[in-house]
């Protein structure tokens, strides 16, 4: 009893150490990088550190803080919460004051990395009985790999990172015990990963499938048993994923997927040679600097040496080496060959998914390293030396060709590899004689090495900026009208859901018109007057853009530039309308102030400079041979006030409109809800047809009862909800059936064994 308590204490101390030391290392690296100039601690040439800490890495933390504020206000959509922030820490942010949210999520960032290290430690120590020192160091290498450091700022990705060691643990138990309950747990972890977000469904499930193959191969003594064990786990995974369908199916259907494989291949013809992939596996600082580079799995030289030693280890069966090699190669190729990567990333583009596949590989490599450490007796002295030399030689050979870092890094790694080799040799020979404290120098050295790694990852900017787009190529985006204005122009740039109603006869132009004309049309319907009047401007310079005299311009190249000059009179609010699609940018200059704005697509923007004479340079990119208007407009504030008075806020999606607000006969109800074909609208309990008017939801209805309130009900049914529900039911039934079948089979087996025993006794 006493021994068990001491053993638990020993384990818990390790858990806390892995957690705390990882947190300290991350916090220390961030602090050092943010507060010291390059070259102050270590010469820049050695670390490739030439600039201060990349602030972009914390960009996502800022976004999370701002989304949490929106969540507190009730402005964050359920879809975003489910997809991006299914994370207890995010909900904990609810009770944190707004001013402290950024600091809170920075702390969460650090804590999550600490937890990842502790969870991996727990798996290695409890399941694999790896020595505590090695388990802590290996757990920390997992959590402090460049990929985890990047993903840690994204809730959805980090959920999966934290669950990977848990999943490994459950898979290990399922293969070892083969019990019904252990398989149910594997199904449950698959279910949880899927529920937590897209990354969990795609990369998390892929990880469980591949890791379970490796674990099954490692823990069974033949290929046949390994496959049988893997098959049982796959069934449990399938049941878990199916049960999660109610969340998965609507989520995936909301992405505008493309099944046009030829198009995917055409769009992303970026292949890397096998040599490219090899070279980047060994780069010193590692971690791709941008997405177009080959993604690497860098997480330090220690696991790399252990991985090589794993393949040299005589005690490791050949089938496991073969399965591991195939898995490593396939994962790496899937990330390096863009077409495969994009297809696995769900026909779209998501660097997070690539990262997660690589993190999953890191977790598997940690498992393989641990197997190697547990079986150190299977290594000869020559194998240890060769294993230590191999990565150094590879770095020397490939580094210059890969071009990622200087040779100075190689010079730093060389003594590292020598020390690792010596430690392993001594430990392997003397582990039965030396007391445990002789491992302390190894531990200290390991920590120093990991800290240096982490520092290099942060300092060299090998962490991808968090604002790298993680969205899908053709994800449906429903945006409000792109009207940028300081004034609260009713309906168009309001945070509230609003609506207006006007007689249908009055509205002549709705969708097929440019935004100012449309706004004027609505304004005339409501007030009888126009909100905007055109203002003349002088063309100062034209580059690749020609004009006619009707206010229309034609871009003669995919990079056109027009410079105009506008005189603003006292009190005038001026707006600029640019009708070109593509990437437009505007630079205002009134001699005192400048303002810069860019937009994807046409926009109507308030001219920010308040000077009397304003030069505006308008860059139009990507739309060759296209004709569109460019206008300067004056806003009539009196008309604006009138329009405001006739606009109503929708406090909810079901509401009553006062009869005094609706004319008898045909009317338009125009909302500022971004149009989505999934919206269903009923007026006085009659379903009406919905229209997209300037991307906003609108309906036309007949008001026959002028004295009664008009009852409007707007509902949205996500496609795939019922399909997802039925699949979930199927998954739940399958889980129960699997559990029951295995339980019955096991009972029979037990009974048979008892009867057999009796028979033999007899």
């Amino acid at each position: 009893m006493k021994k068990s308590s001491a053993s638990r204490r020993y384990y818990i101390t390790g858990f806390i150490a892995a957690f705390l030391i990882s947190c300290l290392i991350v916090a220390g690296a961030i602090f050092l990088c943010r507060n010291t100039e390059p070259g102050k601690i270590v010469p820049s040439e050695l670390t490739s550190r030439f600039s201060k800490f990349d602030e972009d890495m914390l960009g996502k933390i800022k976004t999370t803080a701002s989304d949490c504020k929106a969540f507190k206000r009730g402005d964050l959509s359920g879809k975003i919460i489910l997809d991006d922030y299914c994370d207890p820490f995010f909900f904990l942010g609810y009770i944190i004051p707004d001013a402290s949210l950024e600091a809170f999520f920075t702390a969460v960032y650090v804590i999550k990395i600490g937890l990842a290290a502790a969870f991996m430690y727990s798996f290695l120590r409890r399941r694999m009985a790896l020595k505590r020192t090695f388990a802590i160091l290996t757990g920390m290498t997992y959590a402090l790999s460049s990929r985890v450091i990047f993903v840690a700022s994204l809730s959805q990705g980090m959920n999966v990172v934290l669950l990977m060691p848990v999943a490994l643990s459950l898979i290990y138990e399922a293969v070892r015990k083969r019990s019904s309950l252990s398989h149910v747990f594997v199904g449950l972890i698959s279910f949880i990963m899927c529920i937590l977000g897209t990354a969990g469904t795609l990369s998390g499930t892929l990880f469980i499938i591949s890791a379970s193959l490796i674990v099954s191969t490692a823990l069974t003594d033949s290929v046949k048993r390994a496959l049988a064990s893997w098959g049982r786990i796959l069934l449990a995974v399938l049941a878990g994923v199916l049960t999660a369908s109610v969340a998965i199916v609507p989520r995936f259907l909301s992405y505008g997927m493309t099944y046009d494989f030829m198009k995917i291949i055409d769009d992303r013809k970026v292949y890397y040679s096998f040599f490219d992939m090899l070279s980047t596996m060994f780069t010193g600082a590692g971690g791709s600097l941008d997405y177009s580079a080959v993604p690497t799995i860098y997480f330090g030289i220690m696991p790399l040496i252990l991985l090589i030693l794993f393949f040299f280890n005589r005690k490791i069966p050949a089938r496991l080496k073969f399965a591991s090699l195939i898995l490593i190669a396939l994962t790496h190729i899937s990330c390096a060959v863009s077409v495969v990567d994009l297809t696995l990333s769900f026909f779209g583009y998501s660097s997070v998914l690539t990262d997660l596949r690589l993190i999953g590989l890191c977790a598997v490599i940690c498992f393989l390293s641990a197997l190697c450490l547990v079986n150190l007796d299977g290594l000869s002295d020559t194998a240890v030396l060769a294993g230590c030399c191999a990565p150094v030689i590879a770095i020397i050979l490939f580094n210059g060709l890969g071009g990622a870092v200087s040779y100075n890094i190689t010079a730093l790694y060389l003594p590292g590899a020598v020390i690792i080799g010596l430690c392993l040799l001594i430990y392997r020979k003397r582990k039965d004689f030396l007391p445990a404290r002789y491992l302390y120098p190894v531990f200290i050295f390991g920590l120093a090495f990991i800290f240096f790694n982490t520092f290099v990852i942060y300092a060299t900017g090998s962490v991808e900026p968090a604002d790298v787009s993680a969205s899908f190529v053709s994800e449906k985006v429903y945006e409000r009208l792109d009207l940028i204005s300081d004034d609260e122009i009713s309906l168009f740039n309001s945070a509230d859901d609003k609506y207006i109603v006007f007689p249908a006869e009055e509205a002549v132009i709705l969708d097929d018109s440019i935004l100012p004309v449309f706004i004027n049309s609505v304004s005339r319907s409501l007030t009888g007057e126009r909100l905007f009047e055109k203002k003349d401007f002088e063309i100062k310079a034209q580059d690749n853009i020609s004009s006619d005299d009707s206010g229309y311009f034609t871009a003669n190249s995919d990079s056109a530039l027009l410079t105009i000059s506008v005189d603003r009179e006292e009190g005038q609010e001026l707006y600029l309308y640019v009708g070109f699609d593509g990437l437009n940018d505007v630079e205002e200059d009134d001699g005192e102030d400048t303002d810069y704005f860019s937009s994807e697509g046409a926009f109507l923007k308030q001219i920010s400079c308040k000077g009397r004479h304003i030069d505006i340079a308008i860059g139009i990119d990507g739309r060759e041979s296209v004709t569109a208007p460019i206008e300067v407009l004056i806003l009539d504030k009196d008309v604006l006030a009138d329009v405001e008075n006739k606009t109503r806020i929708m406090s909810q999606k079901n509401f009553l409109i006062d009869p005094s607000f609706v004319a008898q006969g045909d009317n338009y109800l125009l909302t500022n809800l971004p149009y989505d074909s999934d919206y269903a609208v009923s007026v006085n309990n009659d379903k009406v047809i919905t229209y997209s008017v300037q991307n906003m939801l609108a309906v036309r209805f007949d008001n026959n009862s002028p004295d009664k309130d008009v009852d409007i009900r707007i509902s949205k049914v996500s496609p795939g909800q019922s399909l997802g529900f039925y699949l979930s039911m199927l998954g739940a039934a399958m889980s129960i059936a699997l559990f029951y079948a295995r339980w019955v089979r096991r009972n029979k087996k037990d009974k048979g064994t008892r009867q057999g025993g009796k028979a033999r006794v007899c």
Binding site: D543, S546, D548, Y552, S559, G579, S598, I614, E624, S625
Partner: protein, 336 residues
Amino acid sequence: MLSKKITDGTELVVFDMEWNQPFSGKTVSNEITVLPGEIIEIGAVKYEYSGGRLSRKAVFSCDIKPVIYKKLHYHVMKITHKTDEDLKNGISFKEAAANFRDFMQGADLLVGWGNSDPKILKNNLKFFGLDDSLGVDFLDLQPIFSVFCGQPGQQKSVEFAVDFYNIAKQDIFHSATADAQYTGEVFEEIFEHNKPAEVISAVSSSSVNPDMPSEFSFTGSDVKEADAAFAEVEEKILICPLCSARLASTISPFRIRKSLYGLMNCSTHGDIFVRVRAKRRTGGKYYAAVVMRFATQNDYYLVASKKEEFDKYGVKGAPAPAPQQPSEEEGQTNCE
């Protein structure tokens, strides 16, 4: 540079086209960049140069029935005054292209107003599976007119040029045939009002081979500062985009506000205009947008005028003019 000298008997074709464009945000079956516009009308006039004058020889006109962008875009509708009904009466593009090629036979130069027309013609030829080489040099008359009317650097409309030379307006503008005829008449007037040798010299130096890429644009990587964005591409703009030879500087690249200009020279391909703009992404990062192209009359003027401004005011450029106080009368008028 014109590949053949203009001499007596040289034939040239002045042409104009109208095209329909896809609706923004609407899904189309093809990539919009592959077919940014579908031609719906071609108009052309054939001239012969002789004795310092242009004489009209033949007129070509045809309406084309669109098959990809069948609904007229409201911008195009507003400019051309055509309707969806008008589009139904044309012939197929293949037929129209064959007829136009027949009409072009013997011509050494294609002339247009603006440089979009040959690009869109080649786009359409390629899209419809036809040979997209035009096999004849192209001249953008717009910058030539700007130079001879004393307003270099400004891209004036055909209507402005017609008014400038007091040419009688018989047809409405923005029909391909009418615009081609007006453009031809403007060209006649340019010869009429200037020394033919000067005009021929300007025409020769400004003509380009439309079958060769004449403009190259690319962007640099995302960086934190506008300065770094310029630095990031400073080596790239010293390389000829066609032959990769090191370019010599006719006017060394200089920066004025958020743009960088330069006039470079490739020993094989001639003068190359360079423009770099530092642009900012929504996230706050900058990147350089680079345009390199064979220099036209407008480009020479643009670089020279910007260089003058740079020499006088430095990187910040000319300050904005001092605001003029509106007169009391103006103020009252506006209030009304």
